[in-house]
């Protein structure tokens, strides 16, 4: 059984079709990296996986459970298992680092404060921000913010993590620290779907790479096949333009 599966997934913005009929399946523990030019529909596809965007047609299955707009409670419970990291972090600015990480397990899962605190401290230490516990996000660098965002998602003990261009808003110097945390996660066996422009990360960490353009999957394969011997002309063009 696949941990994520889309069937005939279609998304339109008005008369513009972003993508049509996408069938993608991800196995447990797999790291899937989606690359492609801007406007190719890769981010929108990722955002459909946890229904931040409602698909116009088709279905998303998370651990075999179909996401159903009409059953909000079931949808929330299913989405809880899917953590998401955004390009612009979207941390809660009125909460400290620790509060950001503790908020969802307490509010959404009604876990006890003491239990969540223990877990939160471990996770925050894992992303290397132990000394920033009491800081507000405005006092952190971009890389630190993104690591808090990852910690916040991990605090919900998700089975799947989605990353929507997690390093695109960062200073080049700060990209490494975020990719480092993601690499560790992948090593621990987390199922990850990553939309990124970081080819180095894709080569090194991905189990499978999907190249999207114009709302279609142009090519997919293991990083070795994909980067060393791409089959499609469009893929070659794209890879040639990347330094």
């Amino acid at each position: 059984m696949y941990i994520i599966e889309t069937k005939n997934l279609t998304k339109k913005f008005g008369s513009l079709t972003v993508f049509e009929g996408l069938n993608v399946a991800v196995k447990k523990g797999e790291v899937l990296v989606i690359i492609g030019p801007s406007g190719s529909g890769k981010s929108t596809f990722l955002r459909c996986l946890n229904h931040l965007e409602e698909p116009d047609k088709g279905e998303v299955f998370i651990e075999g459970e179909k996401l159903n707009v009409k059953n909000k409670k079931h949808m929330r419970n299913t989405i809880e298992k899917v953590g998401m990291v955004f390009q612009n972090f979207n941390l809660f600015p009125h909460m400290t680092v620790l509060q950001n990480v503790m908020e969802a397990p307490i509010t959404v899962k009604h876990e006890s404060k003491a239990e969540v605190l223990k877990r939160a401290e471990v996770i925050i230490e894992k992303v290397g921000l132990k000394e920033k516990l009491k800081n507000y996000p405005s006092k952190l660098s971009g890389g630190q913010k993104q690591r808090v965002a990852i910690a916040r998602a991990l605090a919900m003990t998700p089975d799947i993590m989605l990353f929507d261009e997690p390093t695109s808003a960062l200073d080049p110097e700060l990209v490494g620290e975020v990719l480092g945390v993601m690499r560790d996660l992948a090593k621990e066996g987390m199922t990850m779907v990553v939309v990124t422009h970081e080819m180095g990360f894709a080569k090194e960490v991905a189990d499978r790479v999907i190249f999207m353009d114009g709302g279609k999957i142009v090519e997919e394969g293991t990083p070795e096949e994909f980067f060393t011997s791409p089959k499609k002309q469009r893929t070659k063009e794209f890879l040639n333009k990347i330094p």
Binding site: N50, H51, L52, R76, N77, I79, E80, V82, G83, M84, F86, N88, F89, N90, L91, F92, P93, H94, E103, A104, T107, V108, K109, Y136, P137, S138, R152, A153, M156, L162
Partner: protein, 215 residues
Amino acid sequence: MDINILRDMFPVLLKGSLITLELTLISVVLGSLLGMVTALLKLSKNKLVVTVAGFYTWLFRGTPMLLQLFVLYYGLPYIGIKFTPFQAAVIGLSLNSGAYMGEIIRGGILSVDKGQFEACKSLGFTYFHTMKRVILPQTFKIIIPSVGNEFITMLKDTSLVSTIAMVEIMRSAQLLYASSFRPMEAFFITGCLYLFMTTIFTTVFSYYEKRLSVY
């Protein structure tokens, strides 16, 4: 101005100013609750609810408060609904304040980054928890200056209820000068008391503004 007359008038006007404060606080608190509901209704996806809330703001922002108070106090008794001056004043002021607060709060909610809603959704928050834990606390910080403004406007607008036989500070001033023929003394004290009250509110609000700017 005669110091003795000032001294005689002061206790009466101070008492009136307490009524003014009471009216302001009750109306702004009720108005804020009403405004919160109005703002959430106006942001809902249900068209009927949006229309009803829109009608309310349209009506109460689009007509003078004096007219609203007159309808409540002088008009409604003709269809069998009677209010005491205090009741009519509180209802009128709250409904009016609610319409303005609704727009302030709605604007505040809309100016919270859309990414905050997305983060909440991706973490499995319900609408209620999203609002309570994440959106409204941020809204509150954004709207504090406007709310302070509304508070002060409301404090001064309570003077309008003097026209429906509600004895607050303005009405007390009118009564005093009519009986003593000493308008300057009465209005001087009244002005000072208004300034004193608005200064307190301004100070309290700038304190909160500073406290909330830690993030």
